[in-house]
Amino acid sequence: MNISIPKQKLLKYLSYTDTIASSKSTVPVLSNVLIDVSQDAICFCSSNLETGIKIQDKVASKEDGAVAVNGRKLLSIIRELPEEDVVFVSDENNRLTIRSSSKDINAEFTIAGLPKDDFPDINTQPEEEYVVLNPKVFKEMIRKVIFSVSNDENKYSLTGVFLEKNNGDLSMVGTDGKRLSLVSKKQKELGISKEDFFVPYDGVIIPRIVLIEVAKYQFEDEMLYMGFSKNQIFFKYDNINLVSNLIEGKFPDYKKIIPTDRERFFTAKRSLLYSAIKRVSILVEESYNQIRLKLTKERLSVSSQNPALGGAIEDIPVVYGDEDIEIAVNYIYLSDCLKEIGSDTVKIDFEDSERVLTVQGEAEVGYTNLIMPMKGGT
């Protein structure tokens, strides 16, 4: 291969592909990014066997060729080069030589790569037709639930977002077993025109990384395509194709734990509560992240305690007229969802200090967060 390609484009394509490349794979070629040039087209691919990405673009090719190289190193090199186009030349021994087309420097890098042959093919064609989504609304949905998704591989079915179709709505649910975020949008709001838009089994679990990637894309174009095969999900945006296996497993019956008949609640100004938590949490004990919420008439006192450091307390006005109560929670759970609530006033309802809290924006429909409190504490 012998090509010349703008630096900024390269940076973007390489960073998207490198995140998907698996660092821990037993198949060495999979930790690499495949760069494939043929007939004036360039293609960047990576895969971790669960999720794959393919980005295509046009390029003026003096010579075709393909090589799989370490994406992270390549990125580091390109970041250090001047803004001018970058020149890639590969040889028959799978070595990639990198140069800048700038006259100012004459640095040359050579990376030993692997042949294209072992690289898995990335299928970009779903069995079911692609539907068009409004990317802004879809990204907003991801942002509103992604922080609740579990990182714990032992809870495999919780390591993804549950995407569910009910009636005319599309919902996303993320949970780590201790908190849960649920967002629902009307099919219409998402710009899904199709009447009987298809989601396998009416609900699927999408790996976290796939949605994190989709949320990263800067959508200038108003078209995001989503499609399904039986056990795969496909996204297409501009020249990027993302495909992933769905997580097989049973998502917990989350509807069952959403309280419906709550009588005790308080409302607070979202920004006031959020910044009070942010300040008070500076002194939490890090292994627990516990803050205490003490409610008295029309007042909420947020406090933290750290046996080694000290503690903090801040009072804010709230609307509350019920009995005094104290509830301990992980402050991260609260601040994460307060950040995403799109309403000036938040409503938090509860039953006692050991049952689930529901956090909602007072004027926001279709977004609910559930948080389990902590027991005991100082």
Binding site: D152, N154, K155, Y156, L158, T175, G177, K178, R179, L180, P252, D253, I257, E285, E286, S287, Y288, Q290, A308, A328, N330, E354, V356, L370, M372, P373, M374, K375, G376, G377, T378
Partner: protein, 390 residues
């Protein structure tokens, strides 16, 4: 921390103590052991056993068997008794039921061990009429819930209530009327004085003091001369005065497990393997109680009965097996020189914190590996073991 209670405020304190709890549970679960002497504790190993008696049924007590006695002694006193290994899981289960019953009667319940608790019923008498009525109700509810008997003492303070429950055992209900504390205690032998240790009692006996009434009669000053600061509290207790409040949330200060070797050993590989087992059991209990601690202490007793402890404090509380085991092993290696044989090792965790994140899906979510493992052990017992990487 300790708040002095308003002395003019008359309190109603109950002390509830389960009768020969572990042994009674065994007799409850195994009808064939009823009416027979039952000893729960270490393996008597035909009279050569090395542990102690954890509990003895009233039938066994007739042979002179007492809890905390060496198991070998118990065996010699009554070789025909039913000797059983404790089943803490089951005792805890029933203990929880008992405590749940107590919670129905007052918000102020202070559990002091698996089988006893104080309840402050001040103010609830109006609802339940009198201390006596509450005590009867409680005994009945405990019998309904568990099939076990409890002895209850009713008094105006903790110390007297505790003594009262002791007096009526088993299945007793003893009431000390308010104002009658001093008379109530007067003739009782010193060993009933709760809060007075073995050494204090020995010293008092040497002073010619035989009954609690004698202590009271000595006067505050004489006792202060003899016992310094603790003299005054001794005098107050003997007069039936005890202002200690019932502290609602019982907070334990430490949790520990230990094992006595048989025979004594200097095999460090073996000892470290035992430390591993102890860490596992201990941290499992900690997770069950929802507690974590910052200080890990290694206890070690050598063949000549000299006992040492070494500890290390961490910046944060822990309750995972790996950390506790690593610290205990590190402390052991730093301490032990292999010269004398080791009789006993134990691990304790203190500086405890009770903080637990509650779960949304309590039954059907897969827990993390440690929790899953705990559940397996609960179900299958100690037959399940972790792989040891020694």
């Amino acid at each position: 921390m300790e708040k002095r209670t308003d002395i003019n405020r008359r309190r109603t304190i109950l002390h509830v103590d389960m009768d020969a709890f572990y042994a009674a549970v065994e007799q409850l679960d195994n009808p064939e052991y009823r009416k027979r002497p039952v000893v729960v504790g270490a393996d008597p190993a035909g009279g050569r056993g090395r542990g102690v008696v954890s509990a003895a049924s009233y039938e066994a007590r007739r042979f002179g068997i007492r809890s905390a006695q060496p198991i070998s002694r118990a065996y010699h006193l009554c070789p025909g008794a039913v000797f059983l290994k404790p089943r803490f899981g089951r005792y805890t289960e029933l203990s929880k039921k008992v405590m749940a019953v107590l919670d129905e009667f007052s918000p102020l319940v202070e559990q002091i061990s698996i089988d006893e608790a104080f309840i402050d019923c001040t103010g609830t008498e109006r609802i339940f009429e009198s201390g006596e009525r509450i005590a009867k109700e409680i005994k009945g509810r405990i019998m309904d819930e568990t099939g076990l008997t409890a002895s209850v003492g009713v008094a105006s303070n903790k110390s007297v209530a505790k003594i009262a429950s002791e007096l009526g055992k088993p299945d007793g209900l003893t009431i000390c009327p308010p104002g009658g504390e001093r008379e109530f205690l007067e003739r009782l032998p010193l060993r009933y004085l709760w809060g007075a240790g073995k050494k204090t009692i020995e010293r008092l006996a040497r002073m010619g003091v035989e009954s609690i009434g004698d202590v009271a009669a000595r006067g505050e000053e004489a006792l202060e001369r003899e016992f310094k600061k603790s003299g005054r509290s001794l005098w107050l207790l003997a007069n039936g005065v005890d202002e200690r409040p019932v502290v609602c949330t019982h907070r334990r200060k430490s949790i520990s497990e230990e094992i006595t070797f048989f025979p004594d050993t200097r095999d460090t590989m073996f000892i470290e393997k035992v430390l591993f087992e102890i860490s596992d059991r201990l941290t499992r209990r900690m997770r069950r109680f929802g507690i974590a601690g910052r200080t890990v202490t290694l206890k070690i007793r050598l063949e000549d009965f000299t006992t040492f402890s070494r500890s290390k404090t961490l910046p944060h509380a822990v309750r995972d097996m790996k950390t506790v085991r690593a610290l205990a092993t590190e402390l052991f290696r730093a301490f032990y020189d292999g010269e004398k044989r080791v009789r006993l090792v134990g691990i304790g965790v203190s500086n405890l914190e009770q903080q637990e994140q509650l779960e949304l899906f309590s039954e059907d979510t897969p827990r993390d590996a440690e929790r899953l493992f705990d559940a397996m052990k609960e179900k299958y017992g100690d037959k399940i073991t972790r792989g040891s990487f020694l």
